[in-house]
């Protein structure tokens, strides 16, 4: 069963796209403020302001600058990266249930980080980010290579291959971790998929990788527009499909790898976000990718805030929350036969 590109879902809404972007930016700002102020302790906006611009060393300022700020920076960056990566993967595979998770890229990136740490003794953040990106890329090559080798698989089958590959990677991670207890604590924490207790250096380390990945993505936007039709149409429009696909996968791997190296595997963000983005601004990739970045950032920031309250006073891993939402979304997509 092949997936034709669905008829453009974009109905010109009441408001023009610029208004939508404005709204999304406003929402992002609100989500960001919520992330700074809400939590186990509530802080006022004045305290946030003081902590950021006139840190006087009070307890509140220390918590805000040291604990709240890193997660309020990492969450939107990881969300934006996963959103853009998800939108590209869905276009490339012409598959509305494809995402870095359902294709196993997150799991591959996690495995690569664990192998790099345990086997090669990599400790630097840059090294781990590169390892994560490499793991995502290698997984993409394997999953799509296997699919191509089998004479082109249906979109549903590719997802099954990806999910199975993910469980394989999880098993390998589990074995590596339990047989190397020294590394267990540090890595287990990271593997839980969360924004809490991350050093802010992770943000500054991930930012350039995300920017490069996003730059490639936006440079490919018009080619991706052509690529979402069938292959011959794209070729007829003069799009070098192989080169576009290759570059797009590099971009997807950088984005996924950066997100995983910052936050660990935060599940199903890349699956859910592109659907929202297309609903809002339509299929054109210039807009789709922008909206995916914004909605992704809002989504993970809000999920991170929700994680603090779901089982209050304990904090839930944000990856578990996005997984519940994402898996339910997958069920809805399957029921609507969007895949």
């Amino acid at each position: 069963m092949s997936i034709a590109v669905t008829a453009p879902r974009y109905r010109s809404l009441v408001m023009p796209r610029s208004a939508i972007y404005g709204l999304l930016l406003a929402l992002l700002a609100l989500a960001w403020l919520a992330s700074m102020t809400l939590g186990y302790r509530l802080y006022g906006l004045d305290q946030v302001w003081a902590a950021l611009f006139a840190n006087d060393g009070t307890e509140a300022a220390t918590v805000i600058a040291g604990l709240r700020l890193p997660r309020a920076l990492i969450a939107p960056l990881a969300g934006a990266a996963l959103g853009v990566a998800g939108a590209m993967v869905q276009t490339l595979s012409r598959n509305r249930i494809a995402s870095p998770d359902t294709l196993g890229l997150n799991a591959g990136a996690s495995l690569a980080v664990v192998v790099a740490t345990i086997v090669f003794g990599v400790q630097s953040l840059v090294g781990l980010s590169l390892a994560a990106a490499f793991g995502a890329l290698a997984t993409a090559v394997v999953v799509f290579g296997v699919a191509a080798g089998a004479g082109g698989l249906s979109p549903l089958k590719i997802v099954l291959v990806g999910v199975t590959f993910a469980s394989l990677a999880h098993a390998a991670v589990e074995i590596l971790l339990t047989s190397n207890e020294a590394q267990l604590q540090q890595l287990l924490f990271w593997l839980s998929g969360a924004f809490v207790d991350r050093p802010i250096s992770l943000f500054f380390n991930g930012l350039p990788v995300v920017l490069v990945g996003a730059a490639i993505a936006f440079a490919l936007a018009s080619s991706l527009d052509a690529a979402q039709a069938d292959d011959s149409t794209a070729a007829g429009l003069g799009v070098p499909l192989a080169a576009v696909r290759g570059a797009a996968f590099v971009s997807v791997s950088l984005l996924t790898g950066a997100a995983v190296s910052m936050a660990g595997p935060v599940a199903f963000v890349g699956l859910v976000v592109p659907h929202m983005a297309r609903r809002l601004v339509g299929l054109q990739h210039r807009h789709q990718l922008t909206a995916a970045a914004l909605t992704g950032a809002i989504y993970t920031t809000l999920a991170d805030v929700a994680a603090r309250f779901v089982i209050y006073p304990v904090e839930a891993p944000v990856g578990a929350i996005t997984a519940v939402v994402g898996a339910i979304a997958l069920l809805v997509l399957l029921r609507r036969r969007l895949a």
Binding site: S167, H170, G319
Partner: protein
């Protein structure tokens, strides 16, 4: 009603011979699993102890320390394999298994919820542990029920059904993670190891409970399985010979869920055995039903005992969860099945 015509004429030792051979391998591996440890106990000694002989030390080591672990692996592996056999036959889907249809994760969610609700601050259960299989069964039945309610008409498409199962499994898994944090910390780390499939911490009471649930269920399932349609009939053809009884389907799902729950309740989420064992059984004995069931169960037990033994040999002294080893073998096999050109196109 007879399916004799579908049974392949086989040369060689035939289904009964194969079953006997697999049973012999199972017995040997079972004894080896008990014999292996910090000190090797020769197989004949192990057998001797199991039949009531042996000196005091050997009796203690074999019966108290080593037997529960191997017995748990055998029971859990066999039960999940049987559940996989039932599911593959009733859905006519060679890729179906308790793991991929969300039954394993549903059962795990049931157990974690049970632990979170019914334990006090000192990590001890405030109700009898005998209720744990019931909690697992409720979770397993809810999960498989949800998969089939949601998939509805689409259930007849093999791949689609699996994706519904995977999504339901993902919901259960994420909820399990969240609820693990609600309970005391100690319990969470225990639960995490149990979830990955560990048979090393099981005690005699738990084994008795497993048997109490699984033996009656297994007998009922074996009787019910007499009406399973031949695997290679499609929906329409089987309907035309009067096999599409919705109630019968529900019964089989229910029994498969119970079998899985009984195993998962104490042995944890051992993945892919429910996929592997029925497949290998079919390769070995073709479509013969009684032999297929027997060989599936025996192979399930063999795989899990073998995985557990491998862990003790290769990773000692760390205890890698047995479920990871079965996943390392099972996942590539699942991929191979997916890749093969077959009728199961999505």
């Amino acid at each position: 009603m007879t399916y004799m015509t579908y049974r392949p004429a086989r040369a060689g030792i035939g289904p009964i011979g194969v079953t006997a051979l697999v049973a012999a391998i199972f017995v040997l591996l079972f004894l080896a699993g008990i014999g292996f440890g910090s000190t090797w106990i020769p197989l004949e000694h192990v057998a001797h102890v199991l039949f009531g002989g042996g000196d005091k030390t050997e009796r203690l080591v074999v019966l108290q320390l080593r037997l529960p672990r191997v017995a748990a692996a055998a029971i859990a592996g066999g039960a999940i394999a049987f559940a996989g056999y039932l599911l593959q036959r009733i859905t006519r889907n060679e890729l179906a298994s308790p793991g991929v249809l969300g039954v394993v994760d549903g059962a795990a969610l049931g157990v974690v919820l049970f632990m979170a609700i019914f334990s006090n601050e000192t990590n001890s259960l405030i109700v009898s542990v005998a209720w744990q299989p019931l909690a697992a069964a409720l979770g397993a039945i809810s999960a498989i029920g949800l998969v089939f309610l949601l998939s509805g008409q689409q259930a007849s498409t093999a791949i689609r059904l699996l994706l519904f199962g995977i999504a339901v499994a993902a919901v259960c898994k994420a909820l399990t993670t969240i609820f693990m944090l609600v309970g005391p910390i100690y319990q969470a780390s225990q639960a995490a190891r149990w979830l990955a499939g560990a048979v090393n911490t099981i005690n005699v009471t738990e084994i008795q409970l497993m048997l109490l649930v699984l033996v009656p269920t297994g007998i009922v399932a074996a009787i019910a399985a007499r009406h399973l349609p031949p695997a290679d009939l499609d929906d329409t053809s089987s309907r035309s010979i009067g096999l599409n009884l919705p109630a019968y389907r529900i019964l089989i799902f229910f029994l498969a869920a119970l079998l899985t729950a009984g195993a998962v309740a104490f042995a944890g989420g051992v993945s892919f055995i429910g996929l592997l064992a029925p497949h290998m059984a079919r390769l070995l004995v073709g479509r013969a039903r009684a032999a297929g069931i027997a060989v599936s169960i025996l192979l399930g037990a063999i795989i899990l005992i073998g995985a557990d033994l491998l862990i003790r040999v290769a990773f000692a002294p760390t205890e890698v969860p047995a479920g990871t080893v079965t996943a390392l073998i099972g996942a590539p096999y699942f991929l191979y099945l997916l890749m093969r050109k077959d009728k199961n196109n999505g």
